[in-house]
């Protein structure tokens, strides 16, 4: 190390490897929650007739993040599946968030801006949807 050390730089490859590993763990956890909920779902509702030919839309508690979380905590099987699916939807969003941190560490202003825009669009879709 010299007195004129450059600002800390994180290599793209190292960051990508870390993010990739993280994504894989995220998918595995989300799949495990979905599987647990799925087993519970068929145990509780497996014998009821399946009718998905006409679209009715999900009940409101399965449509919002807070509704899903609350019902999953009270062990509603459909909500546990939905929680796993929400966690899965969140994994690419987490990836974008980590990419944002990586660009910030590299002091790359242009790409911090670009990544922030993508992240904002994704969070908008996840939290508010489009009525």
């Amino acid at each position: 190390m010299t007195e004129h050390a450059p600002p800390p730089r994180v290599s793209d490859d190292a960051v990508e490897q870390f993010i990739g590993r993280l994504l894989q763990i995220g998918v595995l956890v989300a799949a495990a929650v979905t599987l647990a909920g799925g087993i519970l779902l068929v145990a509780q509702h497996g014998r009821s007739p399946a009718d998905y030919g006409t679209f009715r839309g999900e009940p409101y508690y399965l449509r919002s993040l807070t509704g899903v979380l609350r019902a999953a905590l009270s062990m509603d099987s459909r909500a546990i599946v939905q929680l796993g699916l929400v966690m899965l939807i969140a994994t690419p969003i987490a990836r974008v968030a980590f990419t944002l941190i990586a660009f910030a560490l590299q002091r790359d202003r242009v790409y911090v801006g670009v990544t922030l825009l993508v992240l904002a669009l994704l969070l908008f879709g996840l939290f508010f949807g489009i009525a």
Partner: protein, 278 residues
């Protein structure tokens, strides 16, 4: 059919879709919606919701394997994601008032196009290293590992690639697919990225694009747990197994089988779309 038997059949079908999709490199997402609607008579909206979730699973699940090889161009990916996420949000908004018959016809066309692309031999283009104004300003040029060391490449026609990516985002949301073929086409053929960089960067982008519209569909009640869980787990297991046995399998005849299935589905989707019977 009961919820249990439907879940078992759907899980089996999705497993095959994920396996074939991974082995042929065409992705399983494209056949999930036709399978659910044509075979199991599931409403198109539930099918699209479930398919999008499975697309995210395979994209994120495969990402770790790819990035270790150091192929992904993160700058290109994140820049083009602006176009795909805007496209996906607009597509999700359009889905609410696009008639099912129109979506079925559009799906049939996309399936046919996929079949044609999969049969056409891939032409390797030469890599350019001449600088391009957009690419230099956005620092998109990079290099990637080859057997002979790291190979540098330049990126060109950024605005055209951006436009195609917007279309890929709209299609992804409307049809519940990853639009991987269109994404690779934009990067490989239009922007001049090496093929391997295009496919891995496309995979990185597919999950992000699908997450944008999946969030919207969750709020609109398109994502049904009883349909989505066997689809997601089936496709994920199939894709993971496919990636594992890829080196030992012979994808050439598999590719023909998969293309045949895609063509049959395309014809049926077009027929149902034109007769309004989906």
């Amino acid at each position: 059919m009961t919820v249990l038997t439907l879940a078992l059949f759907v899980a089996g079908g999705s497993f095959c879709a994920g396996l074939l999709g991974a082995l042929t490199g065409l992705g399983g997402g494209i056949v999930v919606v036709p399978m659910l609607t044509l075979l199991f008579h599931v409403d198109l909206r539930y099918a699209v919701g479930a398919s999008l979730v499975s697309v995210i699973a395979t994209s994120s699940g495969a990402a770790a394997a790819y990035v270790r090889e150091g192929f992904t161009n993160v700058r290109v990916g994140i820049l083009l994601e602006v176009a795909t996420t805007v496209g996906a949000l607009i597509g999700a908004a359009l889905a609410g008032f696009t008639p099912t018959s129109a979506l079925a016809v559009l799906f049939g066309v996309v399936l046919l196009y996929t079949a044609i692309r999969s049969l056409r031999p891939r032409v390797e283009h030469t890599l350019l290293t001449t600088p391009d104004a957009w690419s230099s300003r956005l620092r998109l040029d990079s290099d990637y590992p080859t057997p002979g060391g790291r190979q540098a490449y330049s990126v060109r026609r950024v605005p055209a690639g951006f436009g195609i990516m917007f279309g890929a985002g709209v299609l992804s949301a409307l049809l519940g697919i990853g639009s991987g073929i269109l994404k690779v086409l934009a990067m490989d053929q239009v922007m001049g990225l090496p093929f391997k960089v295009s496919t891995t960067t496309s995979n990185f982008m597919i999950g992000v694009t699908a997450a944008a519209s999946a969030g919207v569909y969750l709020h609109r009640g398109y994502i049904d747990p009883a349909i989505a869980f066997p689809v997601m787990l089936g496709v994920l297991c199939g894709a993971l197994l496919g990636a594992r046995i890829l080196t030992r399998a012979n994808p050439e005849w598999l590719r023909k089988v998969f293309t045949g299935i895609v063509v049959v589905m395309a014809i049926e989707m077009l027929y149902k779309g034109f007769t309004g019977s989906l």
